[in-house]
Amino acid sequence: MDEQTTNRILKTIEASSLWKFGLIVFCAFVLIVVVKNVLPWLSKRLEGHKRVYVLMLIPFLRIFIITGAVVLSVPLFIEPSFQNMIAILGSVGLALGFALKDYASSLIAGIIVVGERNYRNGDWVTIEGIYGMVKNTGLRTVEIVTPDDNRVLIPHKLVWNKPVSNANDSRPRLQCIADYYLHPDHDGEAVSKILYDVATTSPYLHLDSPIDLIVNEETWATHYRLKAYPVDCEQQFRFISDMTIRGKAALLALGVNFPNFSQEMMEKASKSSR
């Protein structure tokens, strides 16, 4: 663009425009901070669906605020004609395309994620083998807190070509599985009854959700998978631990043996089964 064209596109920058721009940026910043702090505060006072919905609002509101700020700021510096906008957007797009390719890719993916609702705040997701709760869906990254309380930032651009596994998909519950490996020589019917009661008597169980038991005969053991839903997603690890501990105690009381193979034997058995 020559100097004349640039002058035609850009307005003369005046002190008042700079003040207005500063005010818009400040207001947008304050609003984003308010949204980022007030909605999680409010969500902590709500339960179930209401909590999830409030958390879901955060990224939408942030995009709305940023878009509003951009729409208000651009006319302060640029003559808002169609030709000018095309010229500016083209130049910015080209610059971003070369210099900030990954960054731009993540920003666009962030907008897509909000629209497609691949993951929302409060969801339990697995991305690139990392499992945790979505704490914040930012513009460029999604912030996940793992069960070990690690904060992991994952760029949104991974959604283009990596699978995202969402365990609860914004519902207040997710399925938990307790695994039991038993010596094959046992009464399967009695074990099934006991394991069903293990789930039914757990204080974490959401009783309106189904309880399921899947049995699979492995080469070296009979594998029972007890599937049930806790009342709240955040109870998942305590729920699994509770079912595992009480399940093992009940099975031992029933006289069921657990296989006691060495790692080497298990690997051999696993290879032979393949």
Binding site: K44, P203, L207
Partner: protein, 405 residues
């Protein structure tokens, strides 16, 4: 202003219906909106109301036990037992064993063990002793022997004490249901807490036709009950006024055919649970100490006929309940839920039904006791009456299992 009151006679006040016919008292739309708005304001921790009340709570005093005793008779369950007897008389006297067992479901504090004990006395029913925790956990068949051996109709008052939410704690109750439903234990009446019943529906679904529960007390029924229980003479009448608005709540003897918003709200808040509603009612009765002996509001007032004295009693706001903070530990919630599902639990059984160590259970119990949620009654931890509805609401909002009717 309130709704028009139904005039019910003494006998129709106490009615037993099947669980599916239990009718929760509802609020008129305006009151419902007001209640929702107040809840929202509480959520944002703002002061509830800036309006100047008719009488400030700080200027009011509770009625002494002696004065209460002279003013109101305590709630007795005899009429409820008579209503249950009338409902069951045909079944008790009949020889058909199509329905060998009747289940009487009661909400906490709604007197189902007392009602069943009175029924057992009236009808000379054989009272079944509750099993010990060891008998429950070992599924001791000998406990079931007391059901058989005679043709007498038996009565088990508290089914909630016959199981534990533990892997080994369900076998005995399943066996009982299995034998009872097939008529192998003869004819009997079983009382059960509404919370336990709700849980049992996931273990053994029992049709509603086998059940009976005390019908909800709506505002009109409550008004009638309060009128019956308030002791008036031909020289003394009572006027209950709202301490907040100064409006009439009840005049005894009744002179109006409408029920006040206060009673509508009370019956709705207590979900038709008459035992709890009467406790709240008594806790709310106050008088204004300074005016006690004056002729003004809050004390005794001579009417046009000088020989009749009208006593003014102020009805304060709902008594303060222990506050369940939103950040309350999950462990406390689980413990309160376990207490309700078992109709009360003793110390040594908590660690059987909860995934906590005995020492952790003890800490939690102490914590909840000091915060006014639970109390130790006859060696069993129970939810306190004034904490019950708060706990119930919290459990319901958090999607835990709540009680049946």
């Amino acid at each position: 202003m309130g709704l028009k009151a139904d005039t019910k006679d003494h006998s129709s006040l106490w009615q037993f219906v099947t669980l599916d016919k239990y009718a929760h008292p509802s609020l008129p739309t305006v009151s419902a909106v007001k209640t929702t708005w107040n809840s929202f304001k509480r959520l944002l921790q703002r002061s509830e109301d800036d309006k100047e009340p008719y009488r400030k709570e700080t200027e009011l005093q509770s009625l002494s036990d002696l004065r209460l005793a002279h003013m109101m008779e305590p709630l007795q369950w005899d009429n409820a037992a008579s209503a249950l007897e009338a409902n069951l008389s045909e079944w008790l006297e009949g020889s058909s064993t199509d329905l060998p067992v009747k289940y009487i479901i009661g909400q906490p504090f709604n007197g189902h063990p007392d009602i069943l004990s009175l029924l057992a006395e009236k009808r000379n029913l054989k009272k079944i002793q509750l099993p010990s925790p060891q008998q429950i956990l070992s599924c001791d068949d000998k406990w079931l022997d007391q059901f058989t051996g005679s043709d007498e109709v038996w009565m088990l008052p508290q089914l909630e004490r016959c199981y534990l939410r533990h892997v080994d704690g369900l076998a005995l109750i399943r066996r009982l249901f299995h034998l009872a439903e097939r008529g192998l234990l003869g004819k009997g009446v079983i009382g059960c807490s509404s919370w336990t019943w709700s849980y049992f529906q996931y273990l053994i679904a029992i049709p509603a036709e086998y059940t009976l529960t005390l019908q909800a007390f709506d505002a009109a029924s409550l008004q009638q009950l309060i009128s019956q229980l308030t002791i008036t003479t031909q020289w003394k009448t009572f006027r209950f006024l709202s301490a907040k608005s100064g409006m009439d709540v009840i005049h005894i003897p009744p002179d109006q055919k409408t029920v006040s918003d206060e009673l509508l709200h009370l019956s709705w808040y207590c979900r038709g649970n008459v035992g709890a509603a009467m406790t709240y009612w008594i806790k709310r009765l106050q008088f204004e100490a300074d005016l006690e002996n004056d002729a003004g509001d809050g004390g005794e007032k001579a009417t046009a006929d000088k020989s009749i004295h009208e006593e003014h009693i102020l009805v304060a706001d709902m008594p303060s309940e222990p506050l369940l903070q939103s950040s309350i530990e999950e462990e406390c919630i689980l413990l309160l839920h376990a207490v309700l599902l078992h109709g009360g639990i003793s110390d040594e059984l908590f660690y059987r039904v909860l995934p906590f160590s005995p020492s952790r259970c003890e800490t939690l119990l102490r914590h909840l006791y000091h915060r006014g949620f639970i109390d130790l009654v006859d060696g069993v931890w129970q939810i306190r009456e004034l904490a019950y509805f708060m706990v119930r609401r919290t459990l319901s909002v958090r999607d835990y299992l709540t009680d049946a009717p």
